[in-house]
């Protein structure tokens, strides 16, 4: 009755899709070992091995790292002997108070909204697989594509701080440095990107 269940997938037809070159190769699921793709040599699987466990682990890592990333200061500004450190959120509030709404909004989106969106979306998608929620399928597929696409944009703040560090470096007058939150923040970006890579979206449709 459900068009989902009756759809002929590559796995049902005994074909494995190569993740790297997208060649279809007949694969016997009963045969032990992992055969290699005849075209590119990548190991062939019907689904990415251990996908759910790895993705959960990376999403939880990102969630844990996002606490120090947001609580610790990400940047120190020295101005005539006075040093002032600020967290990501304080930096954004400073932009808004300063009247720079556009740039404040860009940093808010890249550093806070995008990482939150990625973590929440991945948890939602993973839960939907665990509990076999078979509704909103196309929307969940779209959600994952958005997560994949926006992943890299959270690096923005790190790039800006690195550039400021070099440009605003007038000895004794003013200088800017990255602070303790920077590696944690980079960790959040990396682990969410790896989570999107290890996740196999076909699991959504297997249900």
């Amino acid at each position: 009755m459900n068009s989902l269940a009756s759809a002929l997938t590559a796995r049902k037809a005994g074909l494995a899709l190569c993740h790297d070159c997208r060649k279809l190769t007949p694969l016997n699921p009963k045969e032990p070992g992992t055969p290699a793709c005849p075209l590119c040599g990548a190991s062939l699987h019907f689904r990415k091995p251990g996908s759910l466990n790895r993705t959960w682990a990376l999403v939880i890592t990102a969630l844990i790292l996002s606490f120090p990333a947001n609580i610790l200061p990400i940047m120190v500004v020295n101005f005539i002997g006075k040093s002032d450190s600020s967290t990501i959120m304080e930096g954004i509030i400073y932009f808004f108070q300063d009247g720079s709404y556009g740039i404040g909004l860009v940093i808010l989106t890249a550093s806070i909204l995008v990482p939150c969106f990625k973590i929440i979306s991945m948890i939602l998608i993973l839960l939907s697989i665990h509990y076999h929620w078979q509704t909103w399928m196309r929307h969940k597929a779209l959600l994952f594509r958005i997560v994949e696409f926006i992943g890299r944009w959270s690096m923005l703040d790190i790039f800006v701080i690195a550039l400021l560090q070099v440009l605003v470096n007038f000895t004794n007058i003013s200088s800017i440095y990255a602070d303790a939150a920077a590696p944690y923040f980079a960790g959040v970006v990396l682990s969410t990107m790896f989570a999107a890579i290890t996740f196999d979206p076909r699991l959504l449709w297997d249900a």
Binding site: L4, S6, A7, L8, T9, A10, R11, K12, A13, G14, L15, L17, D20, C21, R22, K23, L24, P26, N28, L39, C40, G41, A42, S100, G102, I103, R138, A141, L142, F144, G151, R152, W153, M155, L156, I158, F159, V160, A162, L163, L164, Q165, V166, L167, V168, N169, F170, I173, Y177, A178, A182, P183, A186, G187, L190, M193, P201, R202, L204, W205
Partner: protein, 227 residues
């Protein structure tokens, strides 16, 4: 069910997909996002084949893909050292000038002790973009000359995996944010590096967009069967 015999590569399934389909392996493709088997219809450049179940773009052929990616990657490789090692801009505060390159940004982050951040910066803004450009250049050069050395599939695999780790576009937005952020407090001069970086970002993006992965793999496979 499966025979290794090349001539017997036909799928006979009563499960679904019409009444009783029989198709050749070359005539089907699978959606990487939902695993649905779809009839491989010829698609013209500019058109797209979209998965009927999950809306994933399966085929989006580009016209003259090899030549375009080759030309853009070569331009990018020429621009690369200028974009990374030439000063991007100069800040002028109270008569003191200070300029910086992308490379200085990585070095100064290393000196603050956050080596992980410095390594990520180096990888995403220098190493991966350079690797990607070189791979696109080398693979399309070989395809253009109709030569498929044994290592080419491996190179193409590395390209597929490094695709999203080059972040020149993100760095470009980072440069623009820095400019907007500083233009109240300091006078900003744009230097050679700024224009080279902008051009590099555009050519690198263009070469990735011009590269039709399906067509590249098809040519690699075709060349290997013949050679």
């Amino acid at each position: 069910m499966w025979s290794n015999d090349f001539n017997q590569k036909t799928i006979g399934s009563k499960a679904a997909y019409g009444s009783e389909p029989t198709f050749n392996l070359d005539q089907v493709l699978a959606c990487p996002a939902c695993d649905l088997l779809i009839e491989n219809k010829p698609v013209q450049p500019g058109e797209k084949l979209i998965c009927p179940r999950c809306d994933e773009i399966l085929l989006a052929p580009k016209s003259n893909s090899v030549n375009h990616s080759l030309a853009l990657a070569l331009t990018g490789l020429i621009l690369f050292p200028y974009a990374v090692f030439m000063p991007i801009m100069t800040l002028d505060t109270m008569g003191i000038e200070n300029s910086g390159t992308i490379f200085d940004g990585i070095i100064s982050t290393w000196h603050t002790g956050y080596w992980l951040v410095a390594v990520i910066l180096a990888m995403t803004s220098v190493a991966f973009p350079l690797i990607k450009l070189f791979l696109i250049f080398w693979i399309s050069l070989n395809l253009k000359r109709k030569r498929i050395p044994g290592y080419l599939p491996q190179m193409m695999r590395i390209y597929v995996h490094s695709d999203e780790w080059g972040m020149l576009e993100v760095m470009m937005i980072g440069i623009l944010v820095t400019i907007i952020k500083m233009h109240h407090t300091a006078h900003i001069h744009y230097d050679t590096g700024f224009f080279c970086f902008t051009a590099l970002m555009l050519t690198a993006l263009g070469s990735s967009l011009a590269l039709d992965k399906t067509e590249f793999w098809r040519q690699i496979e075709h060349g290997r069967i013949q050679g």
